[in-house]
Amino acid sequence: MKNGKKLWLTAGLLAGALAQPAWSASDDEINQLKQQIEDLDQKIRILQRQQEIDKENAEAKKKDTPVVVLDKKGFALQSGDKENELRVNGYIQADYRNYSYTGSPVDNFLIRRARLAITGKFGKYFTFNLTPSWDNNAAGLQDAYVDAAFYDWFKVRAGQFKEPFGLERLQSSANTSFVETAFTTGLTPNYDDGVQLFGIVLGGTTDYQLAVVNGNSLGGGSATSAAGTLGDNNSSKGWVARVFTSPFKNGDTDALKGLGVGIAYENAEVGNTTAGVISITPATVAPFAYLGNTVVGSDIKRWSPQGYWYYGPFGLLGEYVHVEQDVTRTAGALTNTRTLESNAWQTLFSWAITGDDVSYNGLKPKKPFRIGSDGFGAVELVARYNVYNLDDASFVGAPGATTQTQVFNTALASPAAAVGKARDLGIGINWYLTGNYKIQASYDITTFDGGAGVFNATTNTVTDRATERVLFTRFQLGW
């Protein structure tokens, strides 16, 4: 009995203990705690919202704040919304040429090109390019044009620009594989003033250009043509059309993505001139000249199939240029008018032996040169062969010329001063230390057929012009 009572008492005490909470809080305290939690919650929300507002304000301010960029791509000033931009790029080419043949120019250092490209865009559609130059220490103007790009397939350019014709000519001078360009480029038009319609079509694979220009850009190796200037001397205008396609660009075969082919045609209207479309050798010497009082007719036609293929470290570029021009020479009662056809072609091969990717737009080394690291830059070997054919009819006298004097006085060119053919073989090595700096060295051997050499009075013949052997070196910095 005693044990039962004890048991009930224990159970009762236990039940009582379980019924009581371990700690008792008043309603006031609970309400205070609730209020504190609510206040804290509000404070956190306020902080978060303030952060959101600050971020919105910073984003809005960003749109109004111009951005200054200075990097390896040059200097740029951009509006906060990136709708407007002003960019300054440029390059300097410091060359040395060594000539080792009789009658050569003197060996010399020269500033081959020094150019500052000021480009910009204003709004969605409009861009411009203004490029003054100090090539060979002479001030000049290269590009000076405005573009309106309404659609990828429809853009309009007006001003001074490279005529859309030659493949090597259209390459930036900072990106060419050799220090001096091939014969083909000497036959293609250079800068001219006009208006151009252009765009990219067919899924981004094909470029087209159609330009109306003064038509007075004869060609040659510099911004002003070898024998002419950019001034226009007649009211007729020339036109030029070009299409270039990379049909496999979007395909699955990597080896074919870098294949591009195209064709260009120009009908220039140079006005009657004593100049003419004449190419130059890598030593920048014109191996051909018309005789005195020769007039080149205003209507010059040129066409050029062209193409390239780039795949990894390998590149191949080829083009052919054909020129037709009417040339006239009159002596007394005899007039010699002929449609002369000259042409040139080149094949250029490049191989980046360091495994970097070559392209039409230059080479950016995967591992730039840096002392103390394994970066050496990129090394590219290049080789080319190019040929320039002058029309043999240049050396023929007027119909009806019967005496040697008559032939001499009416022939359009003389073998004493003009070659019939020139061939150039060049090899070179380019070291791209970084994407901005490269060193080039190339060696060109140019041989000539058909005159412009030494006249032998005894045999009454002209030996071929002396073979040109030129070593070119270049230090180039571009940004």
Binding site: Q42, R49, I53, E56, N57, V156, V195, L197, V212, S236
Partner: protein
Amino acid sequence: MKMFKKFWPHAAFAGLLLATGVAQAADVELLNVSYDPTRELYQDFNAAFAKEWQAKTGDKVTIKQSHGGSGKQARAVIDGLQADVVTLALAYDIDEIADKAKLLPKDWQTRLPNNSAPYTSTIVFLVRKGNPKHIKDWDDVVRPGVSVIVPNPKTSGGARWAYLAAYGYALRKNGNDDAKARDFIARLYKNVPVLDSGARGSTTTFAERGIGDVLLTWENEAFLAVKELGSDKFEIVVPSVSILAEPPVAVVDKVVDKRGTRKVAEAYLQYLYGEEGQEIAARNFYRPRDSKIFAKYATQFPKINLFTIDDVFGGWKKVQITHFADGGVFDQIYRPGK
């Protein structure tokens, strides 16, 4: 052949120019730079106007909208934003565009009826359902412990109307004692934890972020919040007195003349005064000027004792200089975080 050779480059050039013209769209596009809470209004209005314009003229008109605090929007237009029309919260902001950028004449307000304000509004309180802090009038929003959400009067038109509504109440209550009114407004802004740049931002802060006990906002914005976010979450409290807000509209002359859009821009604003425009305004909780339309929607709008800015303050120019310019009353009384 010779003639052709001579002239074909000109023809080609003309063809290029023509193609350039063709490439630009023939359809008309207008930019309406507006204040913050009018998004829904102009969404409805623009659709109606575009339909009307196409039926009337056969032309397609697309209206692009830009929204933000009224003062901020005015500055954007002054800085070059190409607005064909401005539909802002207060006349002063459009006056600034006329004065500083000379984009429209100084007498712009006389060109359309009712001082170029096709609808009106006022300032009311939006509180949480059940009104837990028992906010009934202006005196309640300055009580310690009441958290008030209102935008920044430096950027928001609605905020300026709210400030003036509170200030006007305090002047009336205290016999035009400016010092007491200033103290009143200082106590109000002491209760403001966050300043958004525009009315819509404040609505977001209050209604979506759950901050604050009361939102001082446009009447139309309050109605919209209740409609969209739920009458089970919020309720509107109408103060004893408030200010008659007259948001004006104007064609920006220099822009429309440059863009050739004057005709359609003028028609666009005039459509706001027409029957359809007034209906759309009323459906979006703006008080229409048209008495017939207002009568149709009368039960929607609470009766409220309204004063005008001219009655109490002598006009916007005076208000701006005294209260909202740099160093003005607002700058003197508002210290963030204190």
